[in-house]
């Protein structure tokens, strides 16, 4: 039995694709057979973040339309052979995704894969609602910033009413908060909402905090999911997130500022 996870946020640019890539890679590194699907039809980017953009031949819409088999479209990751990527179509429009088609592909994927990560597009249109429709778990990616928090709350409303689990009266989707681009220093200065503030407002189970980090951009520059960068704070934070998702008890890191010496406290550093 496989588990379907949607990575969603409503707002764009908060780190959904980065998270999908890092999370899927993290699951694969833990030994699970994992597939990650790009639902952003027309604005494909997961392939670029995963570093397999030159290997795309067929895509999600080709499979839905029967123009290619699932195995032809899946791209096996070169670093982890238990991780596969299903790219979005770059040329079709969003309406090419149909509920029946998506369901068929997810069913076929769940025969092989233990975890299926759905990278949702921004917004609340077809691609986004279909990415979450069949989900068992939802990772709500949020920045500590007013419009992102508001949009996340809106997504929670949609998750609770317009998903398969909601419509069929099944156990509701498990919702997790992932706070990204977090800066403990700016929180201390009162310039940024704190983890506690965002949790107060959204009342969600906190899956993790990803610090604002240079390593995220350099990971996307090179097409390497940041989880593989074990030296970076963001990479470690994503590894923690995956362990927590899998049920391990892992204390939260990167929420407090690193301790600095007196010299740098006084003179900046």
């Amino acid at each position: 039995m496989s588990r379907i996870i949607v990575v969603t946020s409503g707002k764009g640019g908060v780190g959904k694709t980065t998270t999908s890539a890092a999370f899927a890679m993290g699951l694969a590194m833990k030994g699970y057979k994992t597939a990650v699907i790009d639902f952003d039809v027309g604005l494909r980017n997961l392939d670029l973040i995963m570093g397999c953009e030159r290997r795309v031949v067929y895509d999600f819409v080709n499979v839905i339309n029967g123009e290619a088999t699932l195995n032809q479209a899946l791209i096996r990751d070169k670093r982890r052979d238990n991780l596969s990527i299903l790219p979005a179509s770059q040329t079709r429009d969003k309406e090419s995704l149909t509920q029946e088609g998506v369901e068929r592909v997810l069913n076929e994927l769940s025969e092989t894969f233990e975890y299926i990560v759905c990278d949702s597009p921004a917004g609340i249109e077809r691609g986004a609602t279909l990415a979450m429709y069949f989900a068992d778990d939802a990772v709500v990616v949020t920045n500590p910033e007013v419009s992102s928090v508001r949009d996340s709350d809106r997504m929670l409303g949609i998750l609770a009413s317009k998903s398969r689990r909601a419509e069929q009266g099944l156990e509701p989707i498990k919702e997790y908060l992932l706070l990204t681009r977090y800066s403990p220093e700016r929180v201390r200065l009162g310039e940024m909402l704190s983890v506690a503030d965002v949790q107060d407002i959204l009342s969600l189970h906190l899956l993790g905090v990803i610090p604002e980090s240079k390593s995220v951009l350099s990971a996307s520059n090179s097409g390497t999911p940041v989880t593989l960068d074990e030296k970076s704070d963001a990479g470690q934070a994503y590894r923690d997130v995956v362990r927590r998702y899998l049920g391990e008890r892992v204390p939260h890191r990167f929420v407090e500022e690193e301790k600095k010496g007196l010299f740098s406290r006084l003179f900046g550093g």
């Binding site: 007013v146 928090v149 709350d153 200065l189 310039e191 503030d197 107060d200 003179f267 900046g268």
Partner: protein, 102 residues
């Protein structure tokens, strides 16, 4: 960070983050209460207004329909403000005070 930041950080109550939190709490609470309302409320309001207008002319914004949760049951509240010279219907409101208070 430098010495100045240290003193700046001593005033957390007026920080922009606390303003953000307060604004969000109000907004999110409001949007959540809207979310749980059935989507037929605007149509119900329009139809009710039509019926009322057969008897007395009332303004478009003289009618409000609200849905509130009260413990384990929901209350549908209907509020119609009748015009003062509504001869056709009894009019308990609005009352007029002979000695308006300052």
């Amino acid at each position: 960070m430098g010495l100045l930041d240290y003193f700046r950080s001593r005033t957390p109550n007026t920080s922009s983050a606390s303003v953000a939190k307060e604004r969000l709490q109000i907004l999110v609470a409001h949007e959540r209460s809207e979310r749980n309302k059935p989507d037929y409320l605007p149509r119900l309001q329009r139809d009710l207004l039509e019926v009322v207008r057969r008897y007395v002319h009332v303004d478009d914004n003289a009618i409000t329909v609200t849905m509130e949760e009260d413990g384990n049951h929901e209350v549908l509240e209907l509020n119609i403000v009748l015009p003062e010279e509504a001869a056709a219907a009894p009019k308990p409101k609005p009352r007029q005070r002979s000695h308006p208070r300052r």
